[in-house]
């Protein structure tokens, strides 16, 4: 069952789904790092 060929469009879905959560998360991390760097100034 698990060796079955992947559904069509899986690659696009993977990209879209991960970008959906990845972009806001990376934005939040970037904001946090920008604040954290104040510590080292």
């Amino acid at each position: 069952m698990s060796d079955a060929p992947q559904e069509s469009g899986t690659g696009v879905k993977l990209l879209v789904y991960w970008l959906l959560v990845g972009i806001p998360l990376l934005w939040g991390v970037a904001q946090t790092i920008a604040n954290a760097t104040k510590m080292f100034r």
Binding site: S2, E7, T10, V21, L25, W27, V29, Q31, N35, R41
Partner: protein
């Protein structure tokens, strides 16, 4: 039997049967669904950004006599955490039965709706509406949204349950990093000389969070019965603490293992909260003149990064070294680091202080992320969502107990003439003592007695 089948209604759009994945489904499509929910509900950690603006809703530039006090506003967060634990405990069995889509949409409705009711409370200046909206309803959204995706990921990643749950729970840690700057930006955009934009911000956030969490509910899938990832062979026999048996949720609560884990989580969280709540003031008071208020704020941001990263890192490590060993690391390394934190002011090394606190925070997050897989190992996968829900009462207890304990110890010492900076050291030593109790609980963990296991047919049902 056939009559029963013929009268059974077809699965609805929200039902578990409707979202069973086909044979060619890629399981890596599921973690984003879980993250959609956890990134939103994790914003609870950033709720404090609203506290100061809400103390001058009437006075605008400064607090008016009828404005709310910080002490009154502090209850909003506490209520949300308490209802997180209560809702997770009381709805866990229902969540396991109805499946993740219905659960995640229910969480979206509660959490998004909670913001809207809170917005009404702000605009009418009625505090109990905010308690009810964000605290009670939003708190229920937190609890329901927290456990449902975790159980789903455990079933999709039987070969790496720690890493899978670490991914979702990392999202909970990361949610505050998004919510904090986003909320500040929105309040700034909505504020006018006669109006603080808190209510408008709540409305926007409520709608955005609802939509984002609902997307998670729509894209989530559950594996078909008997599904296993390619190349994975399920163990036939229990090995050490990792069981192949099933323990019913009601039975689990009667086992010493559940309560040992309850204390393991509670003490790990209590010790972590002891640092989180004081980090900024501690850095400034232990190193006067060296760490400014701005630097301390940056330090707190750094801690949230380690809190988030630790969730994924430690939970993934637990797949290799085992859950019990991972918690041994948390407690033993934690004790060393807490003592070290207390001693850094005498050594005069703020770099060592920062490093020690960052590692402590990574293990605080790691404790949350590793515990679902620990539960799966001990009680089996079937009721892990419901059992996890009940275990989260340990978080609620620590959320109340931790800050009270830390503040009481600190005030007691200062009242008895201890210098402020030294009072932190003693608090850290007491936290190390709590970790020692946690270590003992963890070392006492044994496999669940056979008479608690469900018989084969019931376990497979």
């Amino acid at each position: 039997m056939s009559n029963a089948l013929s009268t059974r209604r077809p699965p609805g759009f929200l039902d578990r049967e409707h979202i069973v994945a086909g044979s060619g489904f890629n399981r890596w499509l599921v973690p984003p669904a879980a993250l959609c929910v956890h990134l939103c509900i994790g914003s609870v950690y950033a709720f404090s950004v609203f506290n100061l603006p809400m103390t001058r809703l009437l006075g605008i530039t400064k607090s008016a006599p009828d404005d709310w006090k910080l002490t009154e506003l502090g209850w909003i967060f506490s209520l949300a955490i308490v209802f997180l634990g209560l809702s997770a405990a009381f709805t866990g069995t229902w969540l396991d039965r109805v499946g993740p889509r219905k659960a995640m949409l229910a969480a979206a409705a509660c959490f998004g709706g909670g913001f809207l009711i809170a917005a009404l409370g702000v605009s009418m200046h009625v505090l109990w509406l905010i308690y009810l909206g964000y605290g009670v309803l939003g708190g229920c959204g937190l609890g329901i949204g927290y456990i449902s995706p975790v159980k789903t990921l455990i079933t999709w990643f039987p070969d790496r349950p720690g890493m899978a749950t670490g991914m979702a729970i990392m999202g909970f840690g990361g949610g505050a990093m998004i919510a904090s700057p986003l909320s500040v930006m929105l309040m700034h955009a909505f504020s006018t000389p006669t109006h603080i934009g808190v209510a408008d911000t709540f409305v926007v956030l409520g709608i955005v969070y609802f939509c984002f969490m609902a997307i998670g509910g729509l894209i989530v899938r559950v594996p078909a019965a008997g599904w296993a990832p390619a190349g994975y062979v399920a163990p036939r026999q229990s090995v050490g603490l990792v069981t192949t048996e099933t323990v019913h949720v009601d039975t689990a609560l009667r086992t010493p293992q559940f309560w040992l884990l309850w204390w393991v989580l509670c003490l790990n969280v209590t010790a972590g909260i002891g640092v989180i709540g004081q980090a900024s003031a501690m850095a400034q008071e232990m190193f006067p003149g060296k760490v400014t208020a701005v630097a301390a704020a940056g330090f707190v941001g750094l801690l949230s990064l380690f809190n988030m990263g630790g969730r994924f890192f430690w939970a993934s490590v637990s797949d290799t070294i085992g859950r019990k060993a991972t918690y041994v690391v948390f407690f033993v390394l934690g004790m060393v680091l807490y003592v070290l934190v207390g001693a850094t002011q005498y050594i005069g090394s703020e770099a060592l202080f920062v490093l020690a606190v960052c590692i402590i925070l990574s293990m605080y997050g790691g404790g949350f992320a590793t515990v679902p897989a620990y539960l799966r190992d001990i009680f089996g996968v079937r009721y892990v969502g419901a059992i996890h829900g009940r275990l989260l009462t340990a978080w609620s207890a620590a959320g109340v107990f931790g800050p009270v304990l830390v503040n009481y110890i600190r005030e007691y010492q200062i009242d008895h003439g201890v210098v402020k900076a030294d009072a932190y050291s003693i608090t850290m030593y007491i936290m190390a003592g709590l970790l020692l109790i946690g270590l003992i609980c963890n070392l006492a963990m044994r496999p669940v007695s056979e008479h608690h296991h469900l018989p084969g047919q019931e376990a497979d049902a």
